[in-house]
């Protein structure tokens, strides 16, 4: 019985959507040759996604899988036009066969080979070659990361900590002191070589408080973020699609 109710709901929504689309197109509120059909498609996709709120259903699943496919297809094409075509195809391959007035950049062979080796990860016999590519990328990343992180995070974040505590105003001084206490106590909380007893225990409890207040801030901001996304979608539905608000 529940199932038949769901089917009725589905049909009702489909018919309603169809009627709305026909009305909007025939009255010229949405331009059929311009973006009108696109907006109707987008509205359909949006509503299909929201149908998940009622319950997990085939319409949602179809829309979701379609989206996964489209997103992957889009990435592949963009990678071709933005990376492989200008940096590999036109830099290395085209000049070998055609006189473009430019010598082929033979150095590109190295990253191209390493890039192709990555696909051997899925072969059973030659998968060891893919390790060379990963070793190159990961080793390079690790090497670059060490001094840059020491500089940009450790040293640069320590710099403001060495400011004199007394800033000239009472509240300013309190705040500087609180930041100092906060940083030190949170670092203490993530210190694992000593049992959290006595003084260290006390400091780490202060650390937890600071962490909790900070997590509260993140919590508030995350609520804000999700609600903003919803508002954006509602604006699309009410403004771009239905045109109820200006």
């Amino acid at each position: 019985m529940n199932k038949s109710r769901d089917i009725y709901i589905l049909f009702f929504i489909l018919i309603a959507f169809f009627i709305v689309s026909v009305v909007y197109l025939s009255f010229g509120w949405l331009d059929i040759w311009g973006d009108g059909l696109g907006i109707i498609t987008a509205a359909a996709v949006t509503l299909a996604m929201y149908s998940f709120l009622y319950k997990d259903n085939p319409v949602f699943k179809i829309a979701e899988n379609l989206f996964v496919g489209v997103a992957m297809g889009y990435s592949i094409i963009i990678v071709w036009f933005n990376i492989l075509k200008p940096d590999v195809f036109e830099a290395l391959i085209v000049p070998v066969f055609k006189d473009t007035g430019k010598a082929p950049q033979y150095t590109v062979i190295v990253p191209t080979l390493l890039g192709l080796f990555m696909f051997l990860r899925f072969s059973s016999k030659l998968s060891w070659l893919s390790r060379w590519s990963f070793a190159f990328i990961v080793g390079m990343g690790a090497g670059i990361a060490i001094p840059n992180f020491i500089n940009a995070i450790l040293l640069r974040q320590l710099e403001p900590m060495f400011a004199p505590l007394y800033t000239g105003s009472f509240w300013g001084t309190i705040n500087t002191l609180l930041v100092l206490i906060g940083v030190v106590s949170v670092l203490f909380y993530f210190f694992f070589s000593l049992e959290h007893k006595g003084v260290i225990g006390g400091v780490s409890v202060i650390g937890i408080w600071f962490l909790m207040i900070a997590f509260g801030a993140s919590f508030g901001y995350t609520v804000m973020a999700r609600m903003s996304l919803l508002i954006g979608r509602m604006q699309f539905l009410l403004k771009d699609w239905l045109g109820i608000i200006q």
Binding site: I77, L178, V183
Partner: protein, 217 residues
């Protein structure tokens, strides 16, 4: 074989790591050119790496269809979506893929009217779950959670215009939370995480950490 499977990749990681770490301290032009060449190579390799994700996705959905796992029918839509997008992308508005990318083609239409609404809607669904969780599960079940919720409420009200209407002190309190306790905790977390990043990088260079090679030594 062990030499090619283990020693070579570990030496590559070691040499690249040491070279790039030391590069930072050498300001000479040669060292800058090294960085330029190597990062460019890395960019091209990363471009190829994007296809690995594509391969695993398609491989998995293909297996679902082949093995007729429950709900395998939906996997067809993954191929349908990807296929259509790729075909229009390669067709490139009549100029085909060996020419420069054209603007305003069917490929862009699919992006604008399928991918954009789908992706932005799927995360906005969380807004609803956030509200339901607020009602049913966000509990001040202990001291820590209580502090967290109080701070969250102040920030939530203080960061929207309505906060000022309730009390002029709410935005001030929210601002204080953000720029004093939040700053302190986030800085400590940042420092801790960076030490972790540096430690992991050192372990990778010296071949102690090998998880990235994908196991199966």
């Amino acid at each position: 074989m062990n030499f090619l499977k283990r020693t070579v990749p570990m030496s590559i990681a070691f040499v690249m790591g040491i070279l790039m770490a030391f590069q930072y301290y050498v300001p000479h032009e040669a060292s800058q050119n090294l960085l330029k060449v190597v990062t460019k190579w890395g960019m091209i390799i990363s471009g190829f790496a994007m296809f690995i994700g594509a391969y695993s996705l398609f491989h998995m959905h293909w297996n679902r269809i082949k093995q007729k796992v429950s709900g395998w029918g939906y996997s067809i839509f993954v191929f349908f979506g990807a296929g259509i997008t790729i075909i229009f992308g390669l067709y490139n508005g009549g100029e085909f893929f060996w020419d420069d990318k054209q603007a305003g083609t069917m490929f862009d239409w699919i992006f604008d009217y399928v991918q954009v609404p789908a992706a932005s809607t799927i995360f906005s669904i969380l807004a609803f779950f956030m509200a339901s969780a607020a009602y049913r599960t966000f509990r001040a079940r202990n001291k820590e959670a209580t502090i967290l919720l109080i701070s969250a409420i102040i920030v939530m009200l203080g960061r929207v215009p309505i906060g000022t209407m309730i009390s002029q002190y709410i935005p001030i309190a929210a601002d204080w939370i953000m720029s004093v306790p939040n700053l302190a905790a986030k800085r400590a977390i940042l420092i801790g995480v960076s030490i972790g990043v540096i430690a992991t990088s050192i372990k990778i260079i010296f071949g102690i950490e090998r998880a990235y090679l994908g196991g199966g030594d």
